[in-house]
Subunit: 318 residues, 4 copies
């Protein structure tokens, strides 16, 4: 057994495309409780109150919803150099960019499914000002007391056609661990990757549609399950469609609530309770077809749209 590669620190940010930039921004600020750090061209940069970087969400105006790119932050300049070398060797590398409002130089590459990804170390840490400095020195900015009060970016769930290819690339080129997998007789159907003590930061689910580079959902964490329940009330009070939840996933035990933001992308509000994976040789949890048929942790059947819907929508791609 090789030593696990621990060169990536965490999921850093996600760029979402939205055909309704203004309404999407309003959703993430007024309903989710996030804040705008800045804007440039057709993009708005946002963060949750305890995200330490300049932004964890970049909203970019686009004809269709979907994912523009997402980014990993490396653990050190040396770790970044090691990963870039490995990515280049994989043939999926694109090249260095000068960075963005929220970070320094980043190396750009593709997932095996064609999603754009960046990796960087130099970052822009958020500096709270007079109006949003927290009374707690160890919080990035003050608790908003607005809407769902999400605390931080949690994880990203992509759709991909070739699950085995994604698995190979992620573990062997980028590092970290596969903590859970849905494994049917005919092959793997979904993957959950961890790069730190969280049980996952990236999930990949099979895209049955034949499309490439699509998004399943993006997730922000709330401090408690009670706040996820409150988020459900806030959703219905503001005409935000709840696809499913609140309920508990059997996989990863995430307490979830799935919403559609105005641009069409699926957004999850989640809480992991006190669960962490600290075991350095954690054995991947394997879920069979039979086990998946039992539904979520407490028996809820998965709604059909959850298996089919991704952004951009298939009809937009045709």
């Amino acid at each position: 057994m090789n030593e696990v590669i621990w060169d990536i620190a965490h999921l850093a940010h996600v760029e979402l495309y939205t055909p309704k930039l203004e309404e999407s921004t309003k959703f993430f600020t007024d309903i989710m409780g996030m804040s705008v750090s800045g804007s440039e061209n057709d993009s708005i940069y946002l963060r949750a109150y305890d995200d330490y970087e300049y932004h964890t969400l970049k909203l970019t105006a686009n004809k269709y919803p979907g994912i523009g790119h997402f980014a990993w932050r490396a653990r050190s300049p040396e770790a970044l150099a090691r990963r870039v070398e490995a990515i280049q060797a994989s043939g999926l590398g694109i090249g260095w960019t000068e960075g963005d409002l929220g970070h320094g130089p980043a190396y750009r590459f593709k997932t095996p499914d064609g999603h754009f990804v960046e990796i960087y170390f130099e970052t822009v840490k958020y500096k709270a000002g007079e109006n949003d400095r927290s009374a707690l020195k160890n919080t990035a900015s003050k608790f908003p007391g607005r809407g769902m009060n999400v605390r931080r970016i949690d994880h990203l769930n992509l759709l991909a056609k070739d699950i085995p290819a994604f698995l190979d690339f992620q573990l062997n080129t980028l590092g970290g661990r596969l903590t859970e997998i849905i494994q049917f007789d005919e092959g793997p159907k979904a993957l959950w990757f961890s790069v730190n003590s969280k049980s996952y930061e990236l999930a990949v689910t099979e895209d049955h549609s034949g499309a490439r580079g699509r998004l399943h959902h993006l997730t922000f964490a709330a401090n408690s399950r009670e706040e996820v329940l409150l988020a459900a009330d806030i959703a219905i009070e503001n005409g935000i469609f709840i696809e499913t939840g609140p309920h508990k996933h059997a996989i990863q035990q995430t307490f979830f609530l799935y919403l559609y933001e105005p641009g069409g992308n699926r957004i999850e509000i989640a809480n992991a309770t006190a669960r962490l994976i600290l075991d350095p040789d954690y054995k991947t949890v394997v879920w069979t077809k039979e086990e998946r048929a039992r539904g979520q942790a407490w028996g809820l059947q998965t709604v059909k749209s959850f298996h089919l819907r991704g952004t951009p929508f298939i009809e937009d791609l045709e």
Copy 2:
């Protein structure tokens, strides 16, 4: 044993005096999550999102903080008539008023300590509009998703010099039950009165200062203890002084958080968990001096200001 008198439905509203009307209003709306129903002269009328009446809080500009009056809603016109007759017989009656923005004709009287009180039946129920109608038909208006999100007025705690006189008047003239009492060898020190299934709606604590007609605190209920904890964070993030809590009272088991609103009055955010008193011949719980010395439910010692501070402040009265 006489039948208990059940003619009062609930604590209806409290008028607070504030030397900082604008800042107090901002506190109750932006921090507590309440809404303004209207205003008249030097008064602002507010309610929590599930208060069914036009207002449960009336803020009136005044040189000093304190309580203007508070009001009971009777269970029926007949119940109102019975109570007015009893109040008149007690010698504490003042007379009928034409009502206020939030209710119809009210009979005005005094507590034995000189606080002004009103009792009425005809009320103005709050009608939510386009912008604040709840998605849940059984909620008075929509969950605000703002600040502490208090749900409803909960109870009022007065200060009074002559505790036995208050006890006699409240039970024999107005009705309801005494659910808990602090009883020292030298006499009763504090009383908790219930007029419905809640364990109390009015509490009275001995005022050691010699002053009359003062307020100890006014309380609004949140939906969960988790929300009381969130309220504590919202308080410190917004420079609101926390006097004590969150913690659990041994008496009444209330999960409490005590704040000072900008006008100087003490405000409590509370949650009762699933506790109710449904027993029609509930035996009053008696707390001795020795038992009180043990502190709150989990051992927290009561802060000194909690025993001494009331509004108006003694120094303002001199």
Copy 3:
């Protein structure tokens, strides 16, 4: 408008029939966290930790599951006398019984659907002993720290064929209020009755099966929604079938979890957050067919069995 009759204090206890007395008892004690007060003949008497009476649940061995009887506690001896007179006048009266382990003389009668009911005032209050006395003087016995830790009996949901007849009898003969109703064009389908500040203590749902006197479910309250979520985990960890939930009912806003106890009866664990109905002229909330089609508060579709299943089972009655 007549004055509302407030002669009933609360739902007192329910007798459940079970074909598996031992397993059902184990479920209510080990899983739900209730305690056995005593036993007699084929019956076990149980209570939740803050139920103030000797028992709120009587389990009786029987060939089939279902409800033996349920009981109301009157507000006073005078209130009891008034209700007995009214029941006798209704033609549904049966007569006085000598009482049971947990209460004194009770008047026995039938609902219009044939369920047996008792009403009494004289009761046996639970006296905690050395081992189960609570550290909090105002709690009936100590918090168990066992299983679901339910606090008190909450409400009972019956099935009945003739909903209008039930409505008339309950309001005009027993008193209290109808707080919510499902009203289709062809008539009422379900009723929620309140006799105190809780939003309901008795619900009645139309029985489509043609059977009489059946039970839909019996509910115990937990202190928080978080504890209802924990109860769901405790259920799956102990092989207890979850029919639906946790989720929030649109009707009455109850946060619910429905289980089948080993004897076959449906049991709900619920939390009402801080909701109470204190308005003495509360206007009944009416739900139409169209509104019901929208599912529960956050969109969950009601499972089919919830509409069809009652105890005793139809197949047992044939």
Copy 4:
């Protein structure tokens, strides 16, 4: 800046000495909800329901309370070899042991204050049996539904005389980061070390007594703040002394409850909400004397015993 050393995976277990082995064991099983994995000689091995190793707590009979030793698990055999080499170079190494019931060969060493420590990679993972297998495949054993239901070991807080020496040894020899520090003008007073995404796994506080090798407290995590509140009730219901809490630490934001177990050691039940430190170049948060004087997050003043009391007690050492 050197790359941070990430060779330690997590705090693995703590050996507590207790003069009341039987009562301490009963406390950790019946009150805290932990389970016994096995026993050997005068030691009982325990774990919380989601601890993945054989044990996280070893209780050993001893004349006085205190800490026997604690252990780190390394991230890999290679990481273990690197750390052992560094420890040996530090002069604090003792030598290899054959392991224990719960793990393979371990290298034994001392902290600069004389606490015994072990580091190992080969472990014994807990295998749930018929009776304690969880319904959730990704949980180490089933949720107990007993007492406080703690989920996993969280962190250890030692007392030490020479804080700068501890700081140097921990960061430079073992690795990880210093996430928070109390820094008075005269020098550092307390340290919080992290070796993974948790904000700390080891804390060290200055021992003013002159004694060496003492324990401040050991902490287990519960899934929610609501469960910490329930734990407080369970404590008072079972005669367990609450030293302070529940409340929120300003430092690290931990929601805490401090208890004394029957053997005399201080035990904390804690919840971190959704807080994690994922920033790989996190800047240590520094607390001054002035800032510490403000009390805990919501203003609670730290009780005196919290500053003075450690195990073994000073009087036992004299």
